[in-house]
Amino acid sequence: MTVGDMSKVATTNGTEPATPSKGSKRAGAVANWADERLGLGTAMKKNLRKVFPDHWSFMLGEVALWSFVVLLLTGVFLTLWFDPSMAEVEYNGSYDPLRGVHMSAAFASTVDISFDVRGGLLMRQMHHWAAMIFIASMMIHLLRVYLTGAFRKPREINWLIGCMLLLLGTIEGFTGYSLPDDLLSGTGVRAADGFMKATPVIGTYMSFFLFGGEFPGDSIIPRFYAMHILLIPGLLLALIAAHMLLLVYHKHTQWPGPGRTEKNVVGFPMLPVYMAKAGGFFFIVFGVTALMGGLFSINNVWKLGPYDPSKVTAGSQPDWYMGWPDGLLRVIPAWETHLWGHTVSWNVMLPILVAPPLLLVILMLLPFLEAWITGDKREHHLLQRPRNAPTRTGIMAGLMTFYGLAWAAGGNDIIAIKMDLSINQITYFMRGALFIGPVIAFFIARRWCVSLQRHDEEKLLHGYESGVLVRSPDGGYAEKHLPLPEGKAYTLTARDNDPEIDEIDESDSSLSGRQLRKARLRQRLQKLYFADNVQKPTAEELQESAEHAEHELHELETQIANGPNKHGPAEH
């Protein structure tokens, strides 16, 4: 079906059915042939007209989708030359400084891809950059969904799928980072081996199972390869499909505004508008990764050389998304317990085996915790501005601060040399800041939101600052406020007031002690959750303020007409 046909359909509201324009008979015949055999017409009829709302923040997840497509395309290219084997070979390719050096076949083929395969280095770097962008865009997409309340009923399952995508993307990234078997990634795999071995009782068994014996063995690269190109991409694809099917089923959320309700979606149809926008956006993401792959170096394995357990380099860091557990690992004190001749390494277990899974669980529970506290069981398709859920925004600010500080701690050595600081002082600072920082961030963000809510209320009740300064007969200056345009006022008030705090019937004998305690806890949390929030003004208050504004405007006009300055009121 061509775009020409669609424009024919789109431009008429008449009762006559659309007729195909001249010259499209062949396309029509093909479409008809396909429709009769595949039933495409029925399936596409609805979905081609599916409406999506327009907002830049709705395209953040799309960056993740398109960078995943780039990953698939460049990844397939790389599989054609990469040799996932740890067999020892002597390098004899065209990079002189490594000639004669013994290395694994995996590393040798990575250097070959970089120097002897046409376009290989570009593909390698595009693949790596796209992976970094993939996970980064998933994270800002997650932030958008959380901060606008898009995770609320009915989208909780999609939130969970998204969390799984983030986890799988991270594992996929780590396995891919490890495949070249260079000095940096080998150090990372050695660290992973240590993390597994820090698991009490079964640690060594897990390590031997994964590596097929003692580290490094000769199985880890082929095993990571199978995970990296088959298992995890398969799961990722399946979950992405589920994520997007649910998106279509739920319909996209939208910002409140005139004409937008919980029961409709205001926007543009899939074809041709979103087909063009999203399709165009793919080429932009592709272009950005291609430019980065061509211009910006990433992971110059030939300088790192092949992995050798006796070597290590300063600035050994994982890729950015593994930076925050690494940061926790770098700042934790050397806590160990010795029990009956066994060492329990709290200094490895807490930052690596406990903190990341714990944070993932907290992330996954966020929608359910909020729903339990607020008692909100309704469906939501209109988004909330972050300021209109101050506690929620504060929680995310706290989590982001924790993440950010741990992340920065992961680069403590680079920070130390680039900012002339002592690595020890950075470590001591982080030990405190990791606990205090999130709390401070929570209160600042929450208070900030309440202030913004108050500002909104002020705009609704007292109008916006007009920029017109009026001097009173006494010589004092005052800025006149003008009422908001109706559309804007509607948008600001298109939100729900907070619900009443639950009353607990203490005399209800049917409640057991446990149920009562639970109810009391919930009530307390509810009070904390909604405390200080500003409720939107009532219709009467708005009416009153509109009348007041009209009166004031009239007064202002009179003043200007009678005063020495007769330029008239400013236009808006």
Binding site: D54, H55, W56, S57, M59, L60, V63, P97, L98, R99, G100, V101, S114, F115, L121, Q125, W129, M132, I133, A136, S137, I140, L183, L184, F268, G280, F281, I284, V285, V288, T289, M292, F296, S297, I298, N299, N300, K303, G305, D308, S310, K311, T313, A314, G315, S316, Q317, D319, W320, G323, G410, D413, I414, A416, I417, D420, S422, I423, N424, Q425
Partner: protein, 291 residues
């Protein structure tokens, strides 16, 4: 020396000529030999000249170094018992040539580490200081140029040297100095400095004497020919083109992560804002009229 290198660079376009090798060899020998003889006081012919140099060095030492290192280089202790300035009795001329020749000494202020800065003493004065400190005890002498210079080596020989040097470098140096020699952090505000673009002589001396928190790589540890191999590898890194593009300081994944967020994510988000701001409506005016 710089002028000499530059003219050698101009000549290099004739390097494939039939007698080029011979001419270069002769010129190189004549020039380096002549200049070395003329300017290198360490090779001073007579004992009298040497004695003069030591005397000169002693004068300079008393003015510029004795405050921290003591009037006879015996070192000065603080009241707390730690070193104010270490004893220089057995450091040798190579250590002085490195510390003074890279501007690390004299220190401008006490600190975690003496940073590389503008050189204070000229070549003659540096040589005089080195000659004086060498008389205080034992210690390595300033290395001869043939120990660290890779000039005039056959290409195959040089390639082999570079490849061996890379492995020695990765095994012994990268743990502190990073895989491209970009430098790294050390405890308590110390750091392993960037070692790219450093004079071959100074790299050799650093390995030999182990300045500040660096280990000493004596000739028993890393023999002179291996030291030369490391220097050859570093020189190769300096000359190597950036095959992969801009490298953002060669610091590894941290700078790559910053670029991924700022450029890799920043640019698509900027485009997203742009795309979402352009609807299918024909003009902004009409859009506002509808609203």
């Amino acid at each position: 020396m710089r002028l000499l290198n530059r003219s050698a660079g101009r000549l290099s376009r004739h390097r494939r000529g039939p007698i080029a090798g011979l001419v270069v060899l002769l010129l190189g020998l004549l020039l380096t030999g002549g200049l070395y003889a003329a300017f290198s006081p360490a090779q001073a012919d007579t004992a009298a000249e040497q004695e003069e140099l030591v005397k000169e060095g002693r004068e300079l030492f008393l003015v510029g170094c004795a405050f921290c290192h003591g009037q006879n280089g015996e070192g000065v202790l603080t009241q707390g018992g730690s070193q104010y300035g270490p004893a220089l009795t057995d450091v040798g001329a190579a250590a002085v040539d490195f510390q003074v020749g890279t501007g690390r000494m004299p220190m401008a202020q006490p600190g975690a580490q003496a940073p590389r800065k503008e050189v204070v003493y000229n070549e003659r004065e540096t040589a005089a200081l080195a000659a004086y400190v060498a008389t205080l005890g034992t210690g390595p002498a300033i290395p001869d140029e043939e120990l660290y210079s890779t000039e005039g080596m056959e290409e195959d020989e040089l390639n082999e040297l570079v490849s061996r040097g890379g492995q020695i470098f990765l095994a012994n140096c990268t743990a502190c100095h990073n895989f491209e020699g970009s430098g790294g952090a050390m405890p308590r505000g110390g750091y392993a400095p960037k070692i790219r673009g450093v004079d071959a002589k100074h790299i050799y001396e650093a390995m030999l004497t182990g300045p500040q928190s660096m280990d000493t790589f004596s000739d028993g540890n890393i023999p002179p020919e291996d030291k030369k191999a490391v220097i050859a590898y570093l020189e190769m890194l300096d000359e190597q083109p950036g095959y992969a593009g801009f490298s953002f300081g060669g610091l590894g994944p941290v700078s790559e992560g910053i670029i991924a967020w700022l450029v890799g994510l920043g640019v698509p988000v900027a485009f997203a804002v742009w795309i979402a701001a352009h609807t299918t409506r024909s003009s902004k005016k009409k859009d506002e009229a509808q609203a």
